[in-house]
Symmetry: C2
Subunit: 393 residues, 2 copies
């Protein structure tokens, strides 16, 4: 039972560490303090809901690679990683949420003991789990180190997925198909929002007959009618009336790998504006999907989409997608590239994106989105959820 | 539908702002940048899954009180708060997850325009959603401001709950009762972990006939057998065999208010060590619950518990509880006091705690916990889940 908590071969973890060390070396970074839980997992396999306390993986261009976390989480590190006991380093519980002592003070002592207190240290300075105080504790306690911002260094290494990662992504895609099957089966005018969400959560954890559903890094988002203009509202206990449009942003998840998929539902006979919007969005998807080929840039993909939209008289203020993969709350994006006109990143085979042509207007919204793999033939969709306005009569 | 997204009266929000301003005034803080989503909600009602991008509420000891967030989230701020349009300030989408520009650069411009660039500014320096780069962007762009760490200033104002908050907490307690009813009904040897989790998530969102279940700030945690020694593992697709002990940490949630409750299940006839542990933990709960009275300190509560445990030959390395209430991922604790020997905070009527006598040994773990309100008669439990080892035969 413990053995199969390891999701990838030792060799794959070794390759990831090597790739990371090479990127560090190219930037002259000798030591990297990795605090993003997704990066921690990608480098070591560590998987637990312990990111509400300070923790990190420290990797050096020498042989350094250790997990550092709270005393009661060391057992989880033993169970989910291949690190040996001396590379699972715990800090005492009195450092937890204390105003007196910060876990990064403790880490500074460890680094000093190891003679790693004078090197060039990379920090993930814009990560959720690396607070201002964490940084300032290190600056204070390691006055001879040189600190640089290496915010998305590891995230970038994750952009192109391995074969095993793509298998997990596709399983996640099968799971989101199951979720929408459930939605179509149970949704009806008069259902309470939280009842529908309960079914979505149930189907999401159940997964497929072969593969368990994991928790999504973002809870199911649902906007009914005018609420759908606000993209990130969650549910309450109100009923969904007849003749409502409902935007849903959901994801299937397996072993922390995500396949997001948004759809719009309509209860009753859709009004013409919904049908017109459906037609336009589907066309925008068709012409954009074939752009997801190696050699294209994020900006070129975005241009095709935004130019088409503009011709139809629509202006969309936000990006039209982002890379996806392994993730933890609060975000299933990888926070590297964005599908916006100004992004010059070149696509490579095996990158994965949530392509997100959501349209949010003053009084209503509309979303049909796809998670895709970049291939020489254009986008390969991770799931096969009916790509249309889902009408429930 | 939009109106009832407001969870508290305007008067209650006014009182909260006043309480916060008073605490700021006492510390000489003129302006506070509030980034903790729970604090943002408590001050304004703002409720959306948008904390994966930078956002804040800015409150001053003058009349300043505004929401600052991403352009596409302003609609959500309009729907869930009483702020007028001029106090909902959005930043453009090109600031989102960009290496070139940080949302806090944009906020600095706003503060400068408002003449708020020379005051003493409090920051929540150890909050998940206030990164090192966020702080350094402000330091750079507001050279004439004086910055101080006001990490848990708002959190402390939330410690004593209002009547309406206690109503929500008790509804959350009723929801966790429903969750455990479901667990007891469906659990059986051979069930897959994710199947059991699917039922927990379903029951949690369904809530009670009257009150919807909201999403918990921590997903259901489950450790089977030896895995229960690692406190924060989540589920996978393995089956739970007969003769297993299973630790579960779950919460009922209503309108973002949490009532956590842990229980240990046993599939089959429990071994003597589980029965002995049950007896000891129940006794520890009985003698400790009556300590949750106004005037006692956190340390005095912890002493009673830890002294009892020591007499039984057990040493517990971590704190035995923490305050609870309104929360967002990744933590349902309030991150102020802790139930540990060294904490001298005096309890007040209406404070709420998750009292957490979890025992994690080398090869197994055991948890029976209660969420409680501090009252003159000692702890009042928020839920009435059977307080025992839950044996499933």
């Amino acid at each position: 039972m413990i053995e199969n908590r390891r999701r990838f071969s030792k060799q794959e973890y070794n390759e990831r560490a090597l790739k990371t060390r090479k990127a560090m070396f190219d930037k002259g970074i000798e030591l990297l303090i990795v605090t993003d839980p997704s990066n921690i997992n990608w480098l070591t396999g560590y998987d637990a809901w312990s990111f509400y306390v300070h923790q990190c993986v420290v990797i050096g261009t020498d042989n350094t690679l250790f997990w550092f976390g709270r005393v009661i989480d060391a057992a989880g590190a033993t169970m989910t990683t291949d690190l040996c006991a001396e590379n699972i380093i715990e800090y005492p519980d009195n450092y937890v949420q204390s105003e007196q002592e910060h876990p990064m003070n403790y880490l500074a002592k460890i680094l000093t003991d190891k003679g790693l207190n004078k090197c060039k240290i990379g920090l993930e300075k814009d990560n959720y789990y690396f607070s201002a105080r964490a940084a300032e504790s290190l600056y204070h306690d390691l006055p001879n180190a040189k600190f640089v911002d290496a915010n998305s260094l590891v995230n970038w290494q994750r952009a192109v997925k391995s074969n095993q990662e793509l298998i997990y992504m596709q399983r996640a895609g099968e799971i989101v198909e199951k979720i929408y099957e459930r939605v179509i089966n149970v949704a009806h005018p008069g259902i309470r929002k939280n009842e529908l969400i309960a079914e979505i959560l149930h189907a999401g954890a159940l997964g497929t007959a072969e593969h368990f559903g994991d928790y999504p890094a973002i809870v199911p988002l649902m906007g009914v009618g005018e609420e759908s203009t606000a993209c990130h509202l969650t549910w309450d206990g109100n009923t969904i009336p007849d003749n409502s449009g409902i935007c849903m942003e959901l994801a299937g998840v397996h072993a922390r790998y995500h396949s997001p998929c948004s759809r719009t539902l309509y209860f009753g006979q859709p009004t013409q504006k919904y049908l017109d919007m459906e037609k336009m969005v589907l066309e925008s998807i068709n012409i954009t999907l074939e752009m997801f080929r190696p050699g294209m840039t994020c900006g070129e993909v975005a241009d095709v989409f935004f130019d088409f939209l503009k011709k139809q008289g629509f202006d969309k203020a936000n990006r039209v997608g982002y890379p996806i993969g392994l993730s933890y709350p609060p975000d299933w994006g990888e926070r590297t590239m964005s599908l916006r006109r100004s992004d010059t990143t070149v696509l490579e085979e095996g990158m994965c994106f949530h392509f997100m042509p959501g349209i949010w207007l003053d009084k209503w919204g509309f979303e049909i989105t796809e998670s895709v793999i970049v291939t020489p033939d254009g986008a390969k969709c991770l799931s096969n959820v009916p790509r249309k306005l889902l009408v429930i009569e």
